[in-house]
């Protein structure tokens, strides 16, 4: 068995972490679950973060809002609960289309120990008869880093899933609809039809779970969700994540094999899309091969992305930073990486920037706060958030994913100003 970089030492750092908090997940989750609404119970900072991260994209009235805590809410907690009830009633009057309401905890609500679990239970009792379920989770920065917000949200959905012991494959993690549809088509070509997704596109379409459920993680940041599903009888299928051709094939194969699909049927279904995707990667490989890449920690997607860039595009990995290394889910990924990969977990942003400057990578993958300053120092960057907001999983997106890394380099070569 290849050990890859499973035994490589990991640099663990503590210091300033230049990462988003879990509230940011609302920016994609509110588009994903179309009849859900996310009410952050927090401060003006939370509201400001959400609209800044969303780029103030007001296409329609958003399906998220903030219940802004004020001085008097901090004074007496009993009042805060009454106030919250009032805000929720007002919101539901305004938006009768809401079927599922998430009360989302924030740093200030956690620090004053406002019990949103209890509030959700109480409000669920009040509004259930009108067909509105009320749940809660924490997206606070003191508890969660960026994509961990999605983990917390999905984990909150798990207790609501109906029990069903029948065999099924459950794909866990928010994916773009186009990706979901492609993956479904491949699975159904293998003859695998008892397939479900979490999160659902609509609250009422929540999948069931039970001892027959095999879960296939589509995202690498779902530790709590997986644990909650396991406690309901689901069995985790270890696999590479479906990024790049190698990852997608391994992921589909692991899922289908766990459901008893024969190796031949799996091969037949993946052969054509796999070949097509390999061909599509050629242009980017010519551009990226031999180039050196540095990942700053952001979304926990760093390790599978680094594996893709190295194994399929020939890039050299200088440092792969991740906010949090969840070994249990990352084992197949680490085994597929080169043995000498330099992994770092957590962050001390100034020290890490010193390492970036010393290494002068060809491409640095980093957050929005760091990208332009590094560009101004003459470095080429890729903003990490785009890797979360773009459909990148599966065969047909493999070349798009490669293109996200190739474009900054191509642009740099083009410009003569």
């Amino acid at each position: 068995m290849a050990r890859g970089c499973s035994d490589a030492p990991v640099l663990r750092e503590r210091g300033q972490r230049e990462v988003f908090c879990g509230l940011t997940g609302i920016v994609w989750l509110h588009r994903k679950i179309q009849d859900a609404f996310f009410l952050v119970v927090g401060s003006r900072t939370c509201a400001h973060l959400l609209q800044s991260a969303a780029g103030v994209m007001i296409f329609a009235e958003p399906r998220f809002a903030t219940a802004l805590m004020e001085e008097r809410d901090l004074a007496g907690l009993a009042d805060a609960h009454d106030e919250l009830d009032g805000v929720v009633a007002k919101l539901l009057r305004r938006r009768p289309d809401i079927r599922m309401l998430f009360l989302v905890g924030s740093c200030p609500s956690e620090v004053i120990k406002l019990d949103l679990g209890r509030a959700a239970q109480r409000l669920d009792g009040v509004h259930k008869s009108n067909g509105v379920r009320v749940l809660s989770y924490s997206g606070s920065g003191i508890e969660t880093t960026f994509t961990q917000g999605e983990d917390a949200c999905l984990a909150a959905l798990v207790p609501q899933m109906p029990r069903d012991e029948a065999p099924q494959l459950l794909v866990v993690g928010a994916l773009a609809e186009v990706v979901e549809d492609q993956l479904s088509r491949i699975f159904s070509a293998m003859g695998l039809t008892n397939l479900a997704f979490l999160p659902p596109r609509r609250a009422r379409e929540l999948a069931s779970v039970g001892r027959g459920t095999k879960m296939l993680l589509a995202q690498p940041f779902l530790a709590d969700t997986a644990r909650a599903l396991e406690s309901r009888g689901a069995v985790h299928i270890p696999a590479l994540f479906p990024l790049g051709v190698e990852g997608t094939t391994a992921w589909l194969t692991a899922g289908a094999a766990a459901m008893g699909i024969s190796a031949q049927r799996i091969r037949d279904a993946v052969e054509m899309p796999e070949t097509r995707a390999r061909l599509a990667l050629e242009r980017a490989r010519a551009e990226l091969s031999g180039k050196r890449v540095f990942f700053m920690p952001d979304s926990q997607l760093e390790i599978p992305l680094a594996r893709f860039l190295h194994n399929e595009l020939g890039m050299e990995l200088i440092e792969v930073g991740t906010p949090f290394l969840h070994r249990a889910h990352m084992t197949p990924e680490l085994e597929a990486m080169p043995a000498n990969t330099f992994l770092s977990e957590g962050q001390h942003v100034d020290r890490q920037l010193d390492r970036v400057r010393a290494a002068r990578p060809d491409l640095t993958v980093c957050g929005l706060g760091l990208a332009n300053p590094l560009e101004a120092e003459g470095m080429t960057t890729k903003w990490a958030i785009e890797l979360v907001f773009t459909p990148i999983q599966g065969y047909n997106q493999a070349a798009d994913l490669a293109e996200l890394f190739a474009r900054p380099l191509r642009r740099k070569a083009l410009l003569e100003v």
């Binding site: 230049e18 973060l49 620090v111």
Partner: protein
């Protein structure tokens, strides 16, 4: 607890960041949880800053709460000093750290750094961004400003108020510095933008202060008036008239002749030129910070001949100024930070142009109305590559262009009115050079707002005639006709009702 969908202003510590990022030689150590670093992207992405804001965050997490967050802060402050070697340190807390009551000011003093430390307390659950910027700037001025050793010459001033991430602050400063220097006034210090703490120590070397952005520089200017006896300007030079008044005010303070060699401004002539006749009485809705909203209303009415049909602000602190200004136009000011309320008001006003913030730009886009941005909060496109001030004479030129261009031009508007049924040249057709065809249905826009639940029906002919009215006045025509019909108890609105109403309201 208040339900908020979008917010016009950030929290007060973002105001402090705007001050610190605008300055040089100052570093801000912010006690804040993981995630609050999002604020960096406001500067690096929206303003396209080429360096990180000079801010160190403690980014504490749950595990730190059990231990000692105060130690974490002290360590962060020490590290920040060692790494960045600033002239002075600004310290404070964001909303979450405020609840921990660690007292960053006291902690930073306790570690005995060899540089001045200024602590700012910004109550995050009561105050907002502009207040935070004003308070931070005031605390810095209080800490550093000294009286002059020799009395400064009369024709010397400081410029107070511009910050990082301000709407056109960078260009306004260049324009106003040029204007002042052209008058023979020495500009001593511009602050916060571009100033170091050591520059703030020289504030006393000027005779008076020019307050460009009262929301941010006002408190510091009052302090300097009390302590250093520096007078401050009251006029904000936005628009031709206000710029002339500003020049007169500065001249009086500086003891100079109130004249400038050349008034390099095209707005007065452009506005008088015949092509601008069609601007007369255009209905505009104005919303922004108090200073920019009040100034925009004056420019709109006196310098472009528009009719102001709505005026409001999200700055409650300056609500009175906006109420007074609104009264001049026979309006009641809209004072709110709820953008949904602003949207409803814009829709009800049946305006032809919206002058607002990034929020109103989005509202206007949705309602299909032309819009120009006049105030923060703004987005990346409001930091243009070209020189584009709002203040002074060049600012007036910029205003003329940016407010007039979204509107239909003179003869274009007439043609549209004359040949309303032209197959290609109407408001529901896509431009023919783009292949023609129908535009997608616009939501709302034309929807009537009725006060009384009177059952009114437009006849088919009436409706068809209404459609011949250009879309940008159709909402008004529909509203007036329905009001007219309601007053007279007319249930079926015909072509004749439409023209009766038109004649009635023309009187």
């Amino acid at each position: 607890m208040q339900l908020s969908f979008w917010t016009y202003e950030g929290p007060p510590h973002v105001g402090a960041m705007r001050v610190a990022t605008g300055m040089t030689g100052l570093h801000y150590v912010l006690h804040a949880p993981q995630g609050d670093t999002y604020a960096d992207l406001l500067f690096t992405m929206i303003e396209r800053d080429n360096k990180r804001p000079p801010v160190t965050y403690t980014t504490f997490q749950a595990r730190d709460l059990g231990a000692d967050t105060a130690d974490l802060f002290k360590e962060a402050a020490r590290d920040a000093y060692e790494r960045f070697r600033p002239e002075a340190l600004l310290v404070g807390a964001s909303c979450t750290a405020e609840l921990l009551q660690d007292d960053p000011g006291g902690l930073a003093k306790a570690i005995n750094l060899p540089i001045p430390v200024v602590g700012v307390e910004l109550p995050a659950y009561q105050k907002k961004e502009n207040w935070g910027a004003a308070e931070t700037f005031y605390q810095l001025v209080r800490a550093f400003a000294r009286p002059a050793t020799t009395p400064p010459e009369r024709a010397s001033c400081n410029i107070l108020g511009p910050t990082a991430l301000g709407f056109r602050h960078r260009d306004d400063v260049r324009e106003i510095v040029g204007l002042l220097e052209g008058m023979g006034v020495r500009v001593n210090v511009v602050a916060p933008l571009g100033a170091a703490p050591s520059d703030l120590m020289r504030l006393g070397d000027a005779h008076f202060n020019v307050v460009l952005y009262p929301e941010i520089g006002g408190v510091a200017a009052s302090f300097l008036k009390r302590t250093l006896k520096q007078d401050a300007t009251k006029t904000v030079p936005i628009g031709v008239g206000a710029t002339r008044e500003f020049i007169a005010e500065v001249a009086a303070l500086a003891g100079l002749e109130a004249s400038v060699a050349t008034e390099a401004c095209r707005l007065p002539w452009y506005s008088r030129s015949v092509d601008s006749t069609y601007l007369t009485g255009k209905r505009v809705f104005i919303f922004g910070d108090a200073t920019h909203a009040v100034a925009a209303a004056r420019v709109a009415t006196k310098e472009l001949g528009f009719a102001v049909v709505g005026l409001g602000t999200y700055s409650r602190e300056q609500a009175r100024d906006v109420r007074d200004a609104a009264a001049l136009y026979g309006l009641e000011a809209l004072i709110t930070d709820d953008y949904l309320e602003v949207e409803a008001a814009i829709e009800a006003a049946a305006c032809e142009l919206v002058l607002g913030t990034q929020m109103e730009r989005n509202i206007a886009k949705r309602l299909g109305l032309p819009c120009a941005v006049i105030s923060a909060p703004v987005h990346v496109q409001d930091f243009p590559a070209r020189y584009s001030p709002q203040m002074g004479f060049e600012g007036a030129n910029v205003i003329f262009d940016t407010w007039v261009h979204p509107l239909m031009m003179g003869l274009e508007e007439h043609l549209l009115a004359m040949f309303r049924e032209d197959r290609e040249f109407n408001d529901t057709a896509k431009p023919s050079h783009l292949g023609g065809g129908k535009l997608p249905e616009k939501p709302a826009g034309d929807v009537a707002v009725l006060d009384a639940p009177l059952l009114q029906v437009w006849t088919a002919e009436g409706e068809a005639e209404l459609k011949k009215i250009p879309f940008f006045v159709r909402g008004k025509a529909r509203r007036n006709t329905e009001k007219f019909a309601a007053q007279r108890g007319i249930a079926n609105i015909t072509v004749e009702t439409l023209y009766d109403a038109k004649a009635h309201f023309a009187r």
